[in-house]
């Protein structure tokens, strides 16, 4: 009888571990390089919010467009006003999951190669992306790093003909986030 009660309570506490499955970062970094040999177009965003569910392998990102910072103020103003129209569409989001979760043990320290598949919504347009990533687990934190390429035209980002040779047709995006358990 006593063993039954212990078993039942142990069962209940196992369920509460679910809260510890969610990892969060509010200072995730995403940078992109959209320049050509004529001009550098680089920006970095250090205020990315992202969640990872370590049990299911789901990942979600929330990226505020106005938090991308450029070396040149005018470039940042044009990026927001003319290219990404951030007053109309203030953020970009990503939701997806780690496809090879079985080979990535997020509970154990180590470095794992992973593939993250999902949908990126940028400038109001949603496209499927597949991101090769490296996941490093250590010290109770998870670091996710990945890079992929996107085409501005896929997201209806218009580059005027006058500056065609200054902005790349394929943009490199680099993601680097350090997650901690959400409380």
């Amino acid at each position: 009888m006593y063993k039954l009660i212990v078993a039942a309570f142990a069962f209940m506490t196992l369920q509460t571990a679910k809260a510890q499955d969610i990892y969060l970062t509010r200072t995730g970094k995403i940078e992109f390089h959209a320049g050509t040999s004529v001009e550098d177009v680089d920006a970095v965003n250090n205020e990315v919010t992202s969640l990872v569910n370590t049990k299911t392998g789901e990942i979600a990102f929330n990226v505020l467009i106005k938090s991308f910072h450029f070396k040149r103020a005018l470039m940042e103003e044009h990026f927001n006003e003319n290219y990404l129209e951030s007053s109309k569409i203030p953020k970009a989001t990503f939701k997806g999951f780690i496809t090879n979760l079985s080979s990535v043990n997020l509970a154990k320290d180590g470095t794992y190669k992973a593939t993250v598949d999902g949908e990126l919504t940028l400038h109001g347009v949603t496209q499927k992306v597949s991101i090769p990533a490296t996941v490093t687990v250590g010290g109770g934190k998870i670091r996710g790093q990945g890079s992929f390429k996107i085409k501005p035209e896929d997201y209806k980002i218009v580059i005027p003909s006058l500056v065609q040779d200054k902005v790349a047709k394929v943009v490199d995006v680099i993601v680097d986030c350090l997650y901690e358990p959400k409380n």
């Binding site: 069962f11 992202s50 969640l51 392998g57 789901e58 106005k66 910072h69 040149r72």
Partner: protein
């Protein structure tokens, strides 16, 4: 007694999911609606595994219940919405203040200043040109033969303080100014309805003295202009600015003239496309506080922005370009055709300062 065990075990998954939602480690099982919405997956598989362990729980701790691994691979896509809504909650926890940018395309509305400042470390080279008046006839190619120009440069010391220097051919005048951004329009965490800037300019005329025989003072060559610039970006396309102005002349033309002149300016810009806008600017000289015979300056312009340049194409009744000339020396009348066509070219160079990417 067996009924008692089964009730306990069936209740367990609801306790677990309720605790996940409420974020406190010690909560009594709450049978609220929140348990139903998010955790359908564990709830559906846990009772199944609970039933399977029922026969074994006498001896061992239940090791079977790991609901996540029993989910098929397609589950994450369906439950992705839950993580997204959790993320939206997280983002809402830290609301940001959104400062309004680009109320106007450049630091001048048409002739007079807008609330915009040049960013820190940025040099803005300005070339302004006004042709002669349209009513000067075909012989003078409707004014294209004449010119009044100003060459100048503005520099951003910080994001809220800028300095400028320039020289005008009209009255051979040198000018310098400081513009300070005092309040910024914002929305979000901290909301504020308008942008307020302060402007102070000093003007030095270098024409030969009109009456060289009498004693002339060097200080008589100086004029000053002080402005408060109040603007609001109403929408992505429309911005409006009010500019109360005080102009001070050390030396006025007539004894009847006052040294301090007041004017109130109103300007607006309407975006016609992403990179083209139309601007209007009018200054009303307060009667009794302005020079005799002076007209109110009215200007209409188009801004075209291309990469690092802003081109402003202007029609105005004012010959002078610097603030004191524009405000207090306009003699032309639109109704008589004393309209100058002109342009401003603004070219931005980033030269100074901190690496903004590290912000």
């Amino acid at each position: 007694m067996k009924n008692w065990i089964s009730i306990l075990l069936l209740l367990a998954p609801f306790v677990g999911s309720a605790q996940q939602k409420s974020k406190t480690s010690k909560s009594t099982p709450q049978k609220t609606t929140s348990t139903k919405s998010t955790t359908t997956a564990p709830a559906s598989s846990a009772p199944a595994s609970a039933k399977s362990t029922k026969s074994k729980t006498v001896d061992t701790l239940p090791s079977a219940p790991k609901p996540a691994t029993s989910q098929p691979a397609t589950k994450p896509a369906a439950a992705g919405g839950d993580l997204m809504s959790m993320l939206d909650e997280e983002v809402k926890k830290n609301p940001e203040t959104n400062y309004t940018t680009a109320t106007f395309k450049t630091t001048r509305l048409i002739n007079a200043h807008s609330v915009e400042n040049v960013a820190a470390g940025v040099l803005d080279v300005k070339i302004s040109h006004r042709f002669g008046t349209l009513n000067s006839g075909f012989n003078n190619l409707f004014g294209l033969d004449n010119a009044s120009i100003r060459i100048g440069a503005d520099y951003g010391i910080t994001n809220w303080l800028m300095v400028g220097l320039g020289r005008s051919s009209f009255e051979k005048q040198y000018d310098g100014f400081l513009k300070l951004k005092l309040l910024r329009q914002s929305s979000g965490k901290r909301s504020f309805p308008f942008t307020l800037s302060g402007f102070a300019g000093i003007y030095y005329q270098t024409l030969p003295w009109q009456y060289p025989a009498r004693k002339n003072y060097e200080t008589s060559r100086f004029n000053y202009v002080f402005q408060l610039l109040l603007a609001r970006k109403f929408s992505e396309g429309f911005s409006l600015q009010l500019s109360p102005t005080l102009t001070h002349y050390n030396l006025v033309p007539l004894t009847a003239d006052k040294n301090d002149m007041l004017a109130i300016g109103i300007g607006a810009r309407q975006k016609l496309s992403k990179r083209v806008s139309m601007n209007v600017e009018y200054y009303y000289n307060v009667p009794g506080y302005s020079l005799k015979g002076i007209q109110n300056p009215l200007s209409v312009g188009f801004d075209v922005e291309t990469g690092g340049h802003v081109f402003q194409f202007i029609f105005t009744n004012s010959t002078g370009i610097a603030e004191n000339q524009y405000l207090t020396k306009t003699t032309g009348k639109w109704s008589k055709g004393d309209i100058h066509f002109g342009f401003n070219i603004s070219r931005v160079f980033t030269i100074g300062g901190k690496n903004r990417m590290k912000k």
